[in-house]
Symmetry: C2
Subunit: 234 residues, 2 copies
């Protein structure tokens, strides 16, 4: 059965995102360098983020609040208001950062548009993601843009049902094995993993989870049109 | 033409929301009482919120970051890390607050379900709003729940188009003249304003904007089923 609809993840699949977090986190560590080592700050920040996910969900605002909480904890309350203002500014800089498309994205999307319906399924903060689509200039190319609070089997099931899609005609393309590949494969749909240069710890999966799973892996989004041409002929 | 689909706003239409903000803001003012008067803190916080809306959008996380920024500004950086931790905790308490339905909501929804398709169109943070629906126990009653980043004429136009709805068969019910009534009326659809006990300054409109506008006003959501029965007979 030929692919009819291709859905893309957005962050780190269409444009750079994790690098914006890594850069902010680097500045955060410099701010706290007088209190702790980088390794310890990384570890404590991730613990705070993971703990706060249930309250904040994904996105820059929650990350900024987690940085503030971590800064207070790691300085035992000694951090000054002025230094915390720097952390708030880090968050605002992240939100204002320009959207940098990954190499080859524009051409790939334009090519695929000739033969497929394209959509986006992205996790995160609705306001942030809409702002990024506006800045990316890609918004008009997609049939639908779905911003969801989490990407699991239920999320994908709901989307397939809402648009009356056969899983065998649905392909998801993304950089996260946890969010873009495993739940999609579990529904009998197709998935292509295109790794990004870095992966947030939270999105990592144990190698054992990937055993016996049917999905493809491409090194680069630019390879996608040719791959699909062959796949649909097969 | 009879109403076919009724869309409800959520915050302060289905459940109490503004009161959660007002309560948090009261605690925030107590924390800063040694620096400034309540009036001045209210004013400065609102200025910060309004300025940050372009970066943060609506919702508790953005509000919390604005409280932190205001606290630093109003204390000229003298506020301690420990006090800022209190502000972060205020934000978390808001997110964890139970969802308290307004009087009569449950019965009204159950009654209307017999004759109409019901949906929700709510502005704000996707993650927060989904959490509130889960806590409200109302989620299953709605045909669709749309969380949008802002509610203006374009937003409503897009929703009407997506679901192929005739404006004359569409009714919006909400507490905000700015977000729930004026943009809907501008599209030739119906709107019913049910005021909440308090209105956030940002949602207020000048009386002149309401002149010549066709909409209804009910004192209480419990009056809606009878009103609609009469309306559809007319």
């Amino acid at each position: 059965m030929a692919i009819d609809l291709i859905a893309f993840d957005a962050d780190d699949t269409l444009w750079h995102n994790e690098t914006i977090f890594v850069t902010a986190q680097q500045k955060f560590k410099e701010l706290l360098a007088k209190y702790h080592t980088e390794e310890w700050i990384d570890r404590k920040l991730y613990e705070t983020e993971a703990r706060n996910l249930q309250h904040f969900g994904y996105g820059v605002k929650g990350f900024t609040l987690s940085m503030i909480e971590t800064a207070i904890e790691l300085s035992e309350g000694r951090i000054s208001g002025t230094e915390i203002r720097t952390v708030v500014e880090l968050g605002k800089e992240m939100l204002k950062a320009p959207v940098a498309l990954l190499d080859g994205v524009q051409q790939c999307i334009d090519e695929l548009l000739k033969s497929y319906r394209l959509m986006v399924i992205t996790k995160g903060d609705l306001f942030d993601q809409e702002a990024k689509f506006a800045k990316s200039g890609l918004g008009e190319r997609f049939w639908r843009i779905e911003v969801v609070s989490d990407k699991n089997k239920i999320t994908y099931e709901r989307i397939l049902k809402r648009y009356d899609l056969d899983p065998r005609q649905f392909l998801m393309v993304g950089d996260s094995l946890k969010s873009d590949i495993l739940p999609v494969v579990a529904l009998g749909a197709h998935a292509i993993h295109i790794p990004y240069q870095t992966t947030w710890i939270h999105e990592r999966v144990a190698p054992g989870e990937l055993e016996q799973k049917q999905y493809f892996r491409l090194e680069h989004i630019g390879l996608l049109p040719d791959f699909l041409a062959q796949f649909n002929r097969a």
